[in-house]
Amino acid sequence: MKRSHEPIFWSLFGAGGVLSALVAPVLIFITGIIAPIGVWMPHEALDYPRVLGFAQHWFGKLLILAVISLFLFHAVHRIYHGLHDLGVHAGTGAMIAAYGSALAGTLITAYLLIAVGFG
């Protein structure tokens, strides 16, 4: 009987699940609702120099990478298994597409975090 490799993906899913349970709602609220409208969050809060400074700082890079990467790994795990729930027979191709896209997102994020420079 083959040992499943799910533990790898489940661990990433779990880490992303905890992180998103902690901060995804507030991040969505801030970046997607109150900052664009300018309610409870001054327009200057997300100004270019301020956000750039955050992205150039090593800790900022760590947070940005963790958020984007783990959110993606959490989501693709659920989406991949959700296809099975919907009766779609998702095979190895779907698995590679799902986790591959999360990996691609992670690598692109890492590259961009280097591209923005260091503070």
């Binding site: 083959k2 040992r3 499943s4 298994h81």
Partner: protein
Amino acid sequence: MADTRTIEIEVLRYNPEKDLEPHFQSFQVPFTHDTSVLQGLQYIKDRLDGSLTFRWSCRMAICGSCGKMVNGRPELSCHTFLRDYFPGKVRIEPLNHFPVLRDLVIDQTDFFEAKLPSIKPYLQPKEEKPLSEGTYLQTPKQLQDYYQYSQCINCLLCYAACPQYGLKQEFTGPAALALLHRYNADSRDRGWNERAELLNAEKGVWGCTLVGYCSEVCPKHVDPAHAINQNKVNSTMDYFGLRKLLMPRGGT
């Protein structure tokens, strides 16, 4: 009796010798405050249609025989009461996710002949203990570690509740995996390695997506969802070679 009322019971009928597909049949059934769904079925069989076929035995929620879908929910029919559905109708179907043999009777062989034996449901102590050495001793805490998971009456409500079992019969399923945990958690047992191959496989704990409905419907509060998902952590630790490091009793 002044407090006798009448309720409509709609039952799924299927005769494999005559029918290509199941169909519903309705009956008007008198009931009082304490009439169970099972007693409703028995009234139909005794007075209205003797051909209605269904399993039951103890009438007191311990034998696990009388599981049925009642208005779309897996229930023990002896443990569910007609008064709670009145004035609506009661729709009774065989437990989901199992083949229907006849009327409300399902084919249970997958569970009893495949899933249950596959988890090695017996104590595997380190050494055979001769009778002369007396009984095994267990503290109350050691009993508590597995007691809840030993309460399963094999009623199969959790399998009827589990969409992953419904979608893929290979999945070992809630009751069997809860029982697997029951043995691993028993202080007298050293069988972790024997059960690990199944536990770590796709059809072991990894077939579960924590829908959680199994634990919702279990009449004995076994909480199979807890048993399975605890073991996702164990399986993960085992996968990364951490289990032997961190677990007591050297990982068995």
